[in-house]
Symmetry: C2
Amino acid sequence: MELYSERGFEQTTVADIAERAGLTERTFFRHFADKREVLFLGAGPLQELLVNALVDAPASLAPIDAVATALETAGPMFLEHREFSRQRQSIIMANAELRERELIKLASLASAIADTLRRRGVGEPAANLTAEAGIAVFKIAFERWVDDENEQDFAQLIGESLAELKAVAAGH
Amino acid sequence: MELYSERGFEQTTVADIAERAGLTERTFFRHFADKREVLFLGAGPLQELLVNALVDAPASLAPIDAVATALETAGPMFLEHREFSRQRQSIIMANAELRERELIKLASLASAIADTLRRRGVGEPAANLTAEAGIAVFKIAFERWVDDENEQDFAQLIGESLAELKAVAAGH
C-alpha cells in the first residue's frame, strides 16, 4: 500500500513489494494470486462479517432492512482502517484493472448476500434484487464515507443511502 | 462465437478466430483489444440505444420509471439476436474472465445512465442509485429472458423486474 501510494500501482513490481515486506517473491505468490490481491485482503473478512450479521438480523425485518442492518455492522471495521481505506480507494479509482477486481469482489459479496437471503426464505427474483440494491446502497455510502470532507458515521450513511434508494424506487 | 461454442473460450486462440473470419491476426487486433472483446461488440450500440431512449423519455416520468422505459427499448435488439444471446450468455457464465469483462460493461452502462439522469436534473446520490437499481432490474430481466424455458417479452420482463424492485425497496 505504501509503495502503491509512493510510486503508483503500475510502477510497483511484486519484487518491490516482497522486498519491502521482507518476503521472497515465491512467498508472496503463496499468499496472493497477483499484485492486485494485496489491496483486497479485507474482502473475505468483510464478506464473512456481513453474511454473519445478516444471518443474525431479526426475522421480523423486511429483507432490504435486514441487509441494511448487516451493512451497518461494517462501520467499526472501516473506522479502524480509515486512512488505509482512503489511500486504497484513490489507488483503485486511478487504475482500470483494480476497478475491475473491485467489481468482482462486489459481485461475489452480492451473491453471498443473495444466498443468505434465500436461506432466510426470500424467493427469486427478490433475493437477487435485494442483494443488488443492498450493494448499490453500500457503494454510495462507502464513497461518501471515504470522502475527506465527510466525517459522518458509516452506519448513518447507510441509513441515508437506504432512505434515498427507497425514495428513488417509489418514484420520488 | 461459433468457435467459442465448439471448442470453449479458453481453447480458442486469436489465430483460430482470425482464420475462421478470413482475417490476419494483425487485423483482428486492429478491431479488438483482446479475444474477450469479440463477445461484447453489442455493448457500445446497446449503451447508445439506452442513453438515447432515456434522453427521449417523457420529463413527467420519475427517474426510475424513465430508466425502465429506456431499458424496454432494448427488446427488439435482443430479439433479433436471440440464439446468439443465449449462446453468448452460456459462454460468459462459464468463464471468470468473461464475467469480469461483463461487469465492466455493466458498470460503464450504469455510469452512462447516471450521467444522463444528471443531465435530466436528477441530483446526487439519486442519479447513481437510480442507475444502479436500473442495472439490477436489467440483469434480472435479461437472465430470465435468455432462459430457454421463458418465452416472455423482454419489455414485459423489465416491467415485472421493476415492480419487484419497488416491492423489495418498500420492504415487502
